[in-house]
Chain length 212, copies 2
């Protein structure tokens, strides 16, 4: 059994070199502050489609970093995304991440009102008395709920990472956020996932660490 | 805003119909007990590549289900995969899932011995006095470690789900498991992830539930 190295930090560095070279082979050169985000999505999925489908609102990466440093919290729509976010690094910037999806009271309320748990989870997040960055990797209804409240003038998310994955309502729900002036990072189309939502957060946290 | 439905169970059903129809359009008809597993990987990623790259050892799905019912435990190599596995359903069959990656003692030992945390985690799992199903969605070194111990006759995993994602050592590490007679489900090549590892487990758990 022969392997180049099994040291995690070397593997990660080499992985980014390989994927950057392959992107170049496809005629794609990524630059600016969005490049590390897109590359980490590719790193997390081995799927180069992300190089063509990621959408960033103007100044999105800088806005995310500023929010984290100013004490915004990240709310996810799955415990998987929550597990994937580097919470130690997030804490080093004075921020934290949370998820309400598995709360007993959320499940109970969703059942009673016959709405999705994601809908109720979003409502819970809206009551947090700090700015909220939503990291949505699963539920299109989370994005739909945010847009409804935004349209009614009841709530304005500080930031939306909108990367649910799927075949029904997903692409449409992402468009609902892109149409607004809410700062966002969206992966257009069907692809995404809890792992991608976490990767997007981590990519920006790692860049923030580099700059310290 | 017009959506067909936002009921999760209907969305899932419709999603599987759509992806099954699209597979047919590509000339791919999946059948047998591996079909729900492959389809759930596609459902989780919106990536149809999985229809062409998933590898199952002979009788793998039946073997996994038997192991779960006989009290085997699932050990993952990330807390993300652990978060994604339906632990309530797993418990209903008398099984459970665990992950040692974030244990302080694992981190300490890995640092001291200058090996990966995944390596130490696998060693911990080998000391469990029940059969272990390994669900590996991240670390190729986890698969390398399992193969090393297997070759030395020191340990035989009951089952390996080998779907790490990445660009360095990943495809090779998967081949190391496929070469053995250890029952396995592997996604050949670079793709996979913690979400895919969890999806594979859940697909089989859901089929077990259907059959009760």
């Amino acid at each position: 059994m022969k392997f180049e190295t099994t040291k995690p930090e070397e593997i990660e560095k080499r992985s980014f070199e390989i994927l950057t070279a392959e992107l170049a082979g496809m005629g794609i050169t990524l630059s600016g502050d969005t490049a590390p985000v897109i590359k980490r999505c590719i790193h997390t999925t081995a799927d180069f489609d992300y190089a063509r489908t990621m959408v960033f609102s103007e100044g999105a990466v800088a806005a995310f970093c500023r929010l984290v440093k100013e004490g915004a919290v990240i709310v996810t729509d799955t415990n998987m995304a929550l597990a994937g976010i580097n919470k130690r690094m997030l804490a080093s910037f004075g921020s934290e991440a949370m998820c309400f999806m598995a709360d007993e009271s959320v499940m109970k309320e969703a059942k009673e009102r016959q709405v999705t748990r994601a809908h109720v989870s979003m409502e819970r997040a809206m009551r947090i008395d700090r700015p909220v960055i939503f990291a949505i990797g699963n539920a299109p209804t989370a994005l739909i709920t945010l847009r409804e409240y935004f349209d009614q003038g009841k709530y304005r998310p500080a930031f939306v990472i909108g990367v649910p994955v799927g075949f029904v309502n997903v692409a449409e729900a992402k468009e609902l956020i892109m149409e607004t002036e809410i700062p966002h990072i969206i992966n257009r189309g069907r692809k995404g996932g809890s792992n991608v939502a976490a990767a997007i957060c981590n990519a920006m946290l790692y860049e923030m660490r580099e700059r310290i």
